[in-house]
């Protein structure tokens, strides 16, 4: 007697849960993206505007205990912003890449697939956080945490509106360079700790790439610092009141754009995690929450590096204020809205580049960094100094 089930029992169709994944719904998608953006804006307004205003008006910041609670709440809110940004960007990137490749992207969870990331996160939470037998457990667990912390540190220094910044460092520009260098640790340690071939190769490539591209990145940032006469990020934004830096600082802008895509390990420069050659490189052996942290850090950086493009070259929060007093709360909220819109445009351009360009070979990668970008960045630095002199004289 055959044990093969009869065909009638076999044509299983998953039950539809109130919506039809076969039907593309651009209206729903557009609404969802608007809601995502709105929720991010609301979170930013709460974290940067409402909570500090509340603490200041009540005078709680004077005592040590009040300051402690303020710091804890702000850290939690910053983590919330990072998580929301990652949740949004993951689904947006997948949808965008799908559309570019004539697919539809995720469609099954939530109307038109807009809740896909939530289910991804739940899945990763539920998975076993597995470590292979011969790894160094301490280093293996430390690597994703370091990666996430480096992305998180950069978030702290980014100003979103006039006076709205978590830590207004007077050496903010250098701080950002330092924090982004820290990101190389997670990658190198993660690859080194797992002891496999893929991780090792990924760690080698990541170390070489990140350290090489750090140099033109830092020089481009320094050119901006020289031109605007300050290392404080909010001063740099104020300096662009009349003219956005992208016009006089076009060469550092180009260098920063290329180098930041390399820092992001995004597609033209995705050698460290090349899925087709290295099975994910440094994150090959990671699973569960450790992998989620790598993923989260990557997408927080996908938000922060475009945000820095906006802060340094595209006028930050500047935009028409319709006669509002720049120090008022409404004006600051509007400024943060401008900032987020500009950032969203730049995130889209980063995704666009990621969707278009093919991967470099690693000798081409090094050639571009040392023979192409470094002289260009040095030239930009000298140009910035001359422009600064010219501006001072005039």
């Amino acid at each position: 007697m055959s044990r093969m089930p009869l065909p009638l029992d076999r044509h299983i169709k998953p039950k539809l849960v109130g919506y039809d994944p076969t039907r593309p719904r651009p209206g729903v998608e557009r609404l969802a993206y608007t809601l995502f953006f709105g929720s991010l804006w609301a979170l930013v307004v709460v974290a940067y505007g409402l909570v500090p205003a509340l603490f200041r008006s009540q005078g709680w910041l004077d005592g040590a205990l009040g300051f402690f609670f303020y710091a804890v709440i702000e850290a939690l809110l910053a983590f919330g912003i990072a998580a929301v940004v990652a949740l949004i960007l993951i689904v947006v990137l997948r949808k965008y890449l799908g559309k570019v490749q004539e697919r539809v992207g995720p469609m099954h969870y939530g109307p038109a697939g807009v809740l896909q990331t939530v289910f991804d996160a739940l899945k990763l939470l539920g998975k076993e956080d597995f470590a292979p037998a011969n790894v160094d457990p301490l280093i293996f667990r430390l690597a994703p945490a370091i990666t996430f912390v480096s992305a998180f540190l950069m978030l702290v220094a980014v100003p979103v509106a006039g006076g709205w910044v978590m830590a207004d460092l007077n050496v903010g520009l250098l701080f950002i360079v330092a924090a982004s260098t820290l990101g190389a640790y997670g990658v190198v340690l993660g690859g080194l700790a797992q002891g496999g071939k893929w991780g090792m190769l990924g760690a080698f490539r990541a170390g070489a790439q990140l350290v090489s591209y750090e140099v033109p990145l830092a020089l481009a940032l320094l050119a901006v610092g020289v031109y605007s006469g300050s290392l404080r990020l909010s001063d740099i934004v104020e300096h662009q009141q009349g003219l956005w830096h992208v016009v006089p600082m076009f060469i550092p802008f180009l260098v920063y754009l290329v180098a930041s895509i390399a820092e992001l390990k995004s597609t033209p420069f995705d050698l460290p995690e090349a899925e087709s050659e290295l099975i994910g490189g440094f994150n090959t052996e990671y699973s569960g929450m450790s992998f989620a942290f790598f993923f989260l850090a990557e997408f927080v950086e996908l938000f922060l590096l475009p945000a820095l493009v906006v802060v340094l070259f595209f006028g930050g929060w500047h935009g028409p204020l319709f006669g509002l007093d720049p120090a008022s709360f409404a004006a600051q909220a509007l400024q943060s809205f401008y900032f987020l819109v500009k950032t969203a445009v730049w995130v889209w351009i980063f995704m666009w580049i990621r969707a278009t360009l093919p991967r470099f070979r690693d000798d081409q990668l090094m050639d571009l960094a040392w023979k192409g970008l470094l002289p260009l960045a040095l030239f930009g630095l000298i140009l910035a100094a001359f422009l600064r002199m010219f501006v001072e004289v005039v």
Binding site: M4, P7, P24
Partner: protein, 187 residues
């Protein structure tokens, strides 16, 4: 000068590529949602094997053992007995082991009466490899469900809604469309 030309060429190429990518975004996707939307499969394609029965429910198979002999993987096992009513044989057992079957359709090629045919039936994945051993009842069931099937001897046949079997119109036959077009061109 050549450096500038190279840089310009690179910028132009990247711009072209990015513009091409951006044009794609508006176009509609080609995705098929598999469990809900089934792909269109031409009837002449080796997909799955089935036994066809006549309209009165009797087997087309005459137990000639040609398929058993032709099978390169030797996955077909046939047991037959003499027909008590007349001449020839009746089928007692027809087993087909899909574990080792490589879907070469040699059995379909050699069948003199088009009893074993290829049908465009999918979705026979199972969790247990032992479940892939099919018997006559199973193959008959697939044959009864099939609306369109193909064998080299009779070509594409279709089952009409009233249950009768007949040869498909020429545009559904292999090469039929090409012949039709050639005929039109000739005329």
């Amino acid at each position: 000068m050549s450096l500038l030309a190279e840089v310009w060429e690179a910028v132009r190429a990247i711009g072209q590529g990015m513009a091409a990518v951006n044009r794609r975004v508006g176009e509609s996707a080609v995705t098929e949602f598999y469990p809900y939307q089934k792909p269109e499969i031409p009837p002449v394609s080796v997909q799955f094997l089935a036994l066809i029965q006549n309209e009165d429910g009797s087997d087309r198979c005459v137990s000639c053992l040609a398929c058993e002999r032709a099978c390169p993987s030797q996955v077909i096992t046939i047991e037959r007995k003499r027909n008590p009513a007349g001449k020839g044989f009746v089928l007692e057992r027809f087993d087909l082991d899909f574990v080792n079957c490589m879907h070469c359709a040699n059995c379909v090629e050699v069948c003199p009466v088009s009893a074993i045919v290829t049908v465009g039936d999918f979705e026979h994945a199972v969790y247990d490899v032992n479940m892939l051993k099919a018997d006559k009842a199973f193959l008959d069931e697939i044959g009864r469900r099939a609306q369109v099937w193909y064998s080299p001897k009779f070509g594409v046949e279709i089952r009409k809604p009233d249950g009768s079997i007949e040869k498909a119109p020429p545009e559904m036959q292999p090469g039929g469309l090409a012949e039709l077009l050639a005929g039109e061109e000739g005329a």
